[in-house]
């Protein structure tokens, strides 16, 4: 080891290295001369640096103490603004405790510890001789097992090893513990809580909605009646949420077969985006657009929720609705297609 290196082309010959052996190159002048720091020459500067380091460590001690003050004196905060203050004080206490130590040590290293750069030679990761030895050993090991000469053993072993992990994969089958078979599992996506005569109720209060309450331009977030009593409430809600809006019937384009799915311009559409399943929560009254806040898929309500912008590839499914004898809005049936994002088996 020395303070200076002159970059000799020290080529071992086993591994080619870059940057050596090029003609027409400037000679490496070696490491620049070491420049002394103030603290190396001036005892006052050295003393000052020493005091600075100690001061930083003392700041750290004060930081730790102020952490305790924040923890015990502020005690158990009562409201959110007190929590904010305590959090800030705990944070700043820790900050000073840590930065004091950290900056102190680095300052110490930079001003008082030796700053002579040292040059060390790299060595080969391996040598060719080592590699040859290793190769020989491995060949010998393989030879002694006789695996090359006994294909029967080799092939049955490969077969056994290939099969052995498969049970581990199958053990994950019961990650779904519903006991349903594959077909039934997929079939779940086709059904929601909606059914004939299920009332449309407000989310989250669960109060039913009269057709007369729905004015043009208004929008309701809707859940099926009885959702609160459902066994898997969140699972059912994740499929069944619906948006209810009223349009001027003359502005609506209604396709064949859907003529009676609305009640005087009151329409109900699945709230679950057909892209990746976010709730399509934004309704623009003026343009009659529904916008998904996650990825900005935009559906045009007047064109049966056709996609007019964004990454969704399919209109929102419509829920056929009608009015019951008491004037409340009810579903005519379940959705006619699976709601939410597409999946391979959807068809």
């Amino acid at each position: 080891m020395g303070d200076h290196s002159h970059g000799s082309p020290d080529d071992s010959g086993t591994v080619a290295k870059a940057g050596t052996g090029t003609l027409e190159k400037f000679q490496d002048p070696g490491l620049p001369p070491h420049r002394k720091r103030l603290a190396d020459t001036d005892p006052h500067a050295e003393k000052r640096a020493e005091r600075q380091v100690a001061l930083l460590f003392i700041i750290s001690i004060i930081g730790t103490l102020s952490f305790f003050i924040a923890y015990f004196v502020l005690g158990r905060p009562e409201n959110i603004s007190e929590i904010r203050v305590q959090n800030a004080m705990l944070g700043l206490g820790t900050t000073f405790a840590m930065l004091g130590i950290g900056i102190g040590i680095v300052h110490w290293a930079k001003t008082l510890m030796p700053d002579h750069e040292i040059s060390e030679m790299r060595h080969e990761i391996t040598t060719e001789a080592d590699r040859k030895d290793a190769e020989e050993i491995i060949n010998q090991v393989i030879e002694e097992t006789g695996i090359k000469r006994r294909p029967l053993i080799r092939n049955t072993l490969i077969g056994a090893i290939a099969l052995a992990p498969i049970p581990a994969i199958f053990m994950f089958r019961d990650l779904d513990r519903s006991g349903k078979n594959a077909g039934e599992m997929i079939e779940q996506f086709r059904h929601t809580m909606w059914d004939k005569d299920v009332r449309l109720t407000r989310d989250p209060s669960g109060t039913p909605i009269k057709a007369a309450d729905v004015q043009i331009g208004s929008a309701f977030h809707v859940i099926p009646e009885g959702l609160d009593e459902a066994e898997d409430m969140l699972n059912e809600k994740a499929k069944a949420v619906v948006l209810l809006m009223r349009l001027d019937p003359s502005k609506m384009q209604v396709s064949a077969g859907r003529e009676d799915w609305h009640v005087d311009g009151i329409v109900a559409y699945s709230k679950i985006c057909t892209h990746v399943g976010c709730p399509v929560a934004l309704y623009e009254q003026q343009t009659h657009h529904l916008l998904c806040p996650c990825h900005q898929s935009t559906f045009d309500l007047t064109q049966e929720c056709k996609v007019i912008f964004g990454p969704a590839g399919r209109p929102l499914p419509q829920l056929p609705i009608t009015v019951d004898s008491n004037g409340f809005l009810v579903a005519q049936s379940d959705f006619q297609e699976p709601v939410g994002p597409s999946y391979w088996e959807r068809g």
């Binding site: 020290d10 940057g19 290293a109 997929i186 969140l234 964004g310 391979w344 068809g347």
Partner: protein
């Protein structure tokens, strides 16, 4: 280690050393590492930041596990945060609120954990950019580059699994997006989703399952990879920037003990201090504002943590319909019709897939094109590898366009522009941006190389304007000292290597392709100044380099 040693220690350090050494052979470790040389450069600190934030994650995460209840059981909140009192929620969300409001310092630890996670992925990413742009991934470090890439993926996995645990409205919607993306995978996607969620979304098992992944297997693999990563750093020794006295065969820097250990150790406390300051002063993920997860509401302006943003942005950029053509493709198969959801599948898998494939294979791609199988321990200044810098910038631009797309709604509301226009422009940028980025970055690198040449040939501009007796003005240029000059001329001069015939005299198609790429990358190049070139120039001007260096009487005019 022999137990019957003659050596009797006299100092207490000696006694401890003796004890340790006779049992675990500690002196070998001290001999190997005590004075090992590490080169010093500010850009080498990003990897350290990554390591230290990971340590902070382990510390703060362990604290959080003592109070967190990873259960989706329905509970009624009765903690001290009044706005949510009496509201039904999962035990996970309730215990996250308790950590924030009823455990002293719990909010601080949550914030340290979340900020560290954000910084961890950021530090890993910036560290990888540093490694890429300086060519530190070249032989013999290709495998360590791959390990680093795996660590980046693991860091994102750790972040994602943790992000969902509080079971708040924001993270719940994030999980729903994952569910939707998973379902778009052909054949197996639907079942993957059903098995992960234990049935339909959201079910009651996803939080405990993510918790197992988040606190056990993912950090365990990260730790293993970090150990492997550092082991390889020791085996290879650290790379160093080119400079006088720094060659491909040596390492110049400070010894571990005491300087490097002090600097690196002190730096841990500095990182901790900065994270603590951020966590104390800046709110991250205020879950109490979002409310418990409910499948119906969603807040506008939802965004994932920054490192998932590029995937989310890609999802937003993809058009679902072009006119009346839908990317949701119904595939007629013999047994019935299946749905191929290309509008989700393509953006979720293809950009990230291409990016990670190129990233992982780049060391081999580069050495194939340059036919360079040598070991490299000296880094490239990014300007001295214009082709690589261009490729890197193209990747960064493509990533950043996707990343910006994840904020398309916020860009639109913030700058009062149409959301649709933002998306259209970002789609254009997604296609053209990387190409422009490559061209511009390569041109800038070449120009900087030309500037370096200029400085070597004509000296440094001193800022001193001189007037000749005739009245002409000129600026005095000063010749560089040998050290500065060496830094500017000592770099790899990569030339086009045309397609070579093989032993049979035949030029294979892959070799032709390689030759074409080599031409594309290296046709434009700036050669380093050679001593003869400099001497010839000085001869032309009628003075030798010694004269310029020696005094201020002569000036070099351009």
């Amino acid at each position: 280690m022999s137990t019957t040693t003659e050596y009797t220690p006299k100092t207490s350090t000696g006694r401890i050393a003796n004890f340790v050494d006779q049992r675990v052979g500690g002196s070998i470790i001290v001999k190997e590492f005590g004075r090992k040389i590490f080169p010093d450069h500010w850009s080498f600190m990003f990897g350290e930041v990554a390591l230290y934030t990971f340590v902070l994650l382990l510390i703060s995460g362990t604290f959080l596990t003592f109070f967190f209840d990873p259960s989706m059981a329905h509970v009624i909140y009765n903690g001290s945060y009044n706005p949510l009192k009496g509201i039904g929620m999962s035990a996970a969300y309730s215990s996250s609120l308790d950590i924030s409001f009823d455990v002293r310092g719990g909010l601080f630890m949550r914030q340290v954990h979340h900020w560290s996670a954000i910084l961890f992925v950021a530090a890993v990413s910036v560290h990888m950019l540093r490694v890429f742009f300086t060519g530190a991934f070249r032989k013999p470090r290709e495998l360590n580059w791959v390990v680093g890439g795996v660590l980046l993926i693991l860091a994102m996995a750790a972040g994602f699994t943790g992000y969902s645990l509080p079971d708040d409205l924001l993270s719940g919607n994030g999980l729903r997006i994952i569910d939707g993306v998973m379902k778009s995978i052909p054949l197996v996607g639907t079942y993957l989703s059903l098995f992960l969620f234990g049935g339909e979304f959201p079910g009651t098992v996803i939080i405990p399952r993510l918790y197992s992944l988040h606190i056990m297997i993912v950090p365990a693999i990260i730790l293993l990879m970090v150990a492997l990563h550092l082991f390889m750093v020791v085996v290879h020794k650290h790379t160093q920037y080119p400079g006088p006295g720094r060659t491909n065969d040596n390492v110049v820097g400070f010894p571990v003990g005491p300087v490097y250990a002090a600097k690196a150790g002190g730096f841990f406390f500095i990182v901790f201090g900065i994270v603590a300051a951020i966590s104390g002063l800046l709110t991250i993920n205020p879950i109490w504002n979002y409310g418990p997860y409910d499948p119906s509401p969603v807040s506008a302006g939802t965004q994932p943590d920054w490192y998932i943003g590029f995937v989310d942005g890609a999802l937003r950029l993809m058009p679902g319909m072009l006119g009346n053509f839908s990317f949701e493709w119904l595939v007629p198969l013999p047994w019935g019709t299946n749905t191929l959801t290309l509008n989700v599948l393509l953006p979720a898998l293809v950009p990230a897939g291409i990016m990670f494939t190129i990233m992982f294979t780049w060391p081999w791609i580069e050495s194939w094109i340059t036919k360079d199988k040598r070991e490299h321990h000296l880094l490239d200044r990014p300007r001295n590898a214009p082709f690589r810098t261009g490729m890197g910038v193209a990747g960064v631009v493509s990533y950043c366009v996707m990343w910006a797309a994840a904020s398309s709604d916020l860009i639109a509301t913030h700058f009062h522009v149409s959301l649709n226009d933002v998306t259209y422009w970002l789609r254009v940028l997604f296609v053209l941006g990387p190409i422009l980025g490559f061209i511009v970055a390569r041109r800038i690198a070449l120009s900087l190389q030309r500037k370096d040449r200029e400085i070597v040939l004509h000296g440094r501009e001193t800022g001193i304007i001189e007037m000749t007796p005739e009245g002409t003005f000129s600026e005095r240029h000063e010749a560089l000292d040998a050290y500065k000059l060496h830094t500017l001329v000592n770099y790899e001069d990569r030339k086009v290597i045309p397609a070579q015939p093989n032993a049979a005299g035949h030029v294979s198609r892959s070799e032709k392709r390689r030759g074409a790429l080599s031409k594309f990358f290296f046709e434009d190049r700036v050669a380093p100044v050679t001593p003869s070139e400099l001497a010839a120039l000085h001869a032309e001007h009628g003075h030798g380099p010694a004269e310029i260096e020696g005094s201020s009487t002569e000036s070099i005019e351009k």
